[in-house]
Homo-oligomer: 222 residues x 4
Amino acid sequence: MFSYSDPRTRSPMTPKRPKRGVRQARQVRAQSTVKAILEAGARILAEGGWPAFNTNAVAMRAGVSIGSLYEYFENKQALIDAIADGHLAAGEALLAEGAARLGNITHNAELITALVESAVMLHAREPRLHRALSSEVPLSSKVRERAERLRQGLTGLVAQWLASRVAEPRIAAQLLVDTTDAVVHRWWTEDDGRLVHAERLAFELKSMLGLYLRDLISRSDD
Amino acid sequence: MFSYSDPRTRSPMTPKRPKRGVRQARQVRAQSTVKAILEAGARILAEGGWPAFNTNAVAMRAGVSIGSLYEYFENKQALIDAIADGHLAAGEALLAEGAARLGNITHNAELITALVESAVMLHAREPRLHRALSSEVPLSSKVRERAERLRQGLTGLVAQWLASRVAEPRIAAQLLVDTTDAVVHRWWTEDDGRLVHAERLAFELKSMLGLYLRDLISRSDD
Amino acid sequence: MFSYSDPRTRSPMTPKRPKRGVRQARQVRAQSTVKAILEAGARILAEGGWPAFNTNAVAMRAGVSIGSLYEYFENKQALIDAIADGHLAAGEALLAEGAARLGNITHNAELITALVESAVMLHAREPRLHRALSSEVPLSSKVRERAERLRQGLTGLVAQWLASRVAEPRIAAQLLVDTTDAVVHRWWTEDDGRLVHAERLAFELKSMLGLYLRDLISRSDD
Amino acid sequence: MFSYSDPRTRSPMTPKRPKRGVRQARQVRAQSTVKAILEAGARILAEGGWPAFNTNAVAMRAGVSIGSLYEYFENKQALIDAIADGHLAAGEALLAEGAARLGNITHNAELITALVESAVMLHAREPRLHRALSSEVPLSSKVRERAERLRQGLTGLVAQWLASRVAEPRIAAQLLVDTTDAVVHRWWTEDDGRLVHAERLAFELKSMLGLYLRDLISRSDD
DNA sequence: GATGAATGAGCTTTCATTCAT
DNA sequence: CATGAATGAAAGCTCATTCAT
């Protein structure tokens, strides 16, 4: 559900020691340090999972001293939260796009396709990192809430589209979204993406969701 | 997907140092010690998750010395594997039952219901333990393979039932099984089971799976 | 104000991990470990002061692993509190003795002498440790309260003796006690005990306190 | 015993790198920077004690970069020594004043009052800073010697006044000075100045010192 | 001279594991 | 066999100090 967030929303970007007269030149260096740390953290998480994720390893991998890491992240939790935040931002961007294009969607198939495609997009980019963040890593409640909000947002979007077409849009939306996300999640995380018949399964998934959706609409036509 | 495994498959059960000239009495005591450790471990995992799971805590909770724990389990990994094995055994039992009753199932709805009910059953018993084992805890490849085999077994069972009814039973079975498991997993692990509309959602899930299944069958009738 | 306390009052003596069926044999080993740690800590404090007092150094000096230290002391604070407690216990013992002998004291001079002698006794034993504990070391409020209670106890004892002799025993007692303690403290901690004229000064101190006391009594006789 | 020291004795005041062809303007700026740092340090020490005193915090509080701090103070020790020096200077000023007025003092009571009042004055201004400097903070031997010299100076002054009146002016002076300082110190540092009966106690202290002094004089009259 | 990002030694604490009793 | 005291590698984090800009 995720990629690197725009700096405005990223609080850990500001060092603890407030600096007066911050200069651009300095900021550039600092920005790249932060970026290096976040990327190193993400890579370590993707490669070795949570057990391999320790602050010294992240700092070393980022080619930065441990002190610098703690200059920009209050503690380990803040670091993983920042990484998760970056990952979530990609999902939020996708959601925003989806919201913009929602008006153009008229056919069931389009909705279903958009849903499945975006779920796949989200998982395909960094499957191992995604798995680590969504299961192994203990995220702060703040980040968990943000992820939940993202999920609610998506469900809301789908519910909105369904509103004029089915009797209980909320329930239907939740099933559609949960099924899509859960199934895609499983396919991409189990076996480290070495899934056989991925295309075929995605087709069947869309087919199943389509059947369900059509049935819902016909039910509410009565 | 998982009760405590039969002793035959559990290697750590046999103490490292061979015992000479001792029997029954000792063995009984050993059995109960092992059982106490496994239960303590499972309870700790269920209550505090992976972060709370440390060997000293498990030994203490089991009312056993840390030395005894290491007498029966080579290391921490062997312990969690044993706990996971126990959990898997429950799933395997359910699968065996299912296999036995498969012949009696004739209607789609029965299959779907059996599938969803058993998934719920598996998750409902110890949701926190299940979550811990299926995401937080780093399991050995051996255990992961056993879990995979269980999944394959279930998929195979469903595929077998479908074989005479649809064109591509394997693909269909995988979608049915994955969807059921993934969706139920999500519902039971998100929010610690405080899911709203759980009944309603389960109904819709069955409805969706039913539609898909009926469609598959009709497709292959052509 | 202080020596090593009797085990009954020393809470950190019990390891964190509660042990069932504690055996005597084991206890002996544990006791000596705890003692070694406390003594090492006291010596380090006495020799290098608070800056030199770090848990690794204490463990090493005690000939014990750092893990053992944390087996018996929850954290660094608990360790210094335990050391301070031990030191306070000596003072409390002295106070108890004093209380027992109070009835036998009839002359001013006896009271003054007892006061000054015990203050000296307390400081003479381990001047550097005493200084470290009473100024450099950040003690927990619990220990500070205990020290305060000890002081109050002594003041109370003196006040009690004065009660039948002077108008405002509480105020007088406080001045006597504070003066004695403060002056002796200064003499013993400044210059690391290399005080010249110590005897002479103690004599003068007693003389001064005696004059004050006699005056107080005569004042209240009017 | 202490205000900010005269620049002649303060070596760290001169920046390490010699400045060529620059004057006044720079020097003024440098002076104010140093002053800001010293004041920030004093305030931090007064508010949070030694544990809160770290160079980065001082620089920030002074509104100065950490680099600038190290431009003017070789290291942390030099900084705290400079702060202590400033504090000592206030005491030295008081001592100088006292020396000037010593000739006008003829009555015992005047001496005692001057002694106690100046002790109180010294402690009353910044009790927490005073406590921090006189106990928590590890001062260099240089500063400790300067403080000792101040004490000796005061004792010498009193001894000088006593010289024509008592037999052993040095001993007597030391007891008077030590008692005053020690007792006032205790009253002002214990309980952060929330002392009850402060007035009353000061009165009694003066009374006690006066009795002692009168006795000394009468003794030497014999 | 000033800045503040960067450094890394050093400190506290945890916990899997061993081994003497 | 059972015990639990002891171990020590490893991880999180701080802060005095440096140095490129």
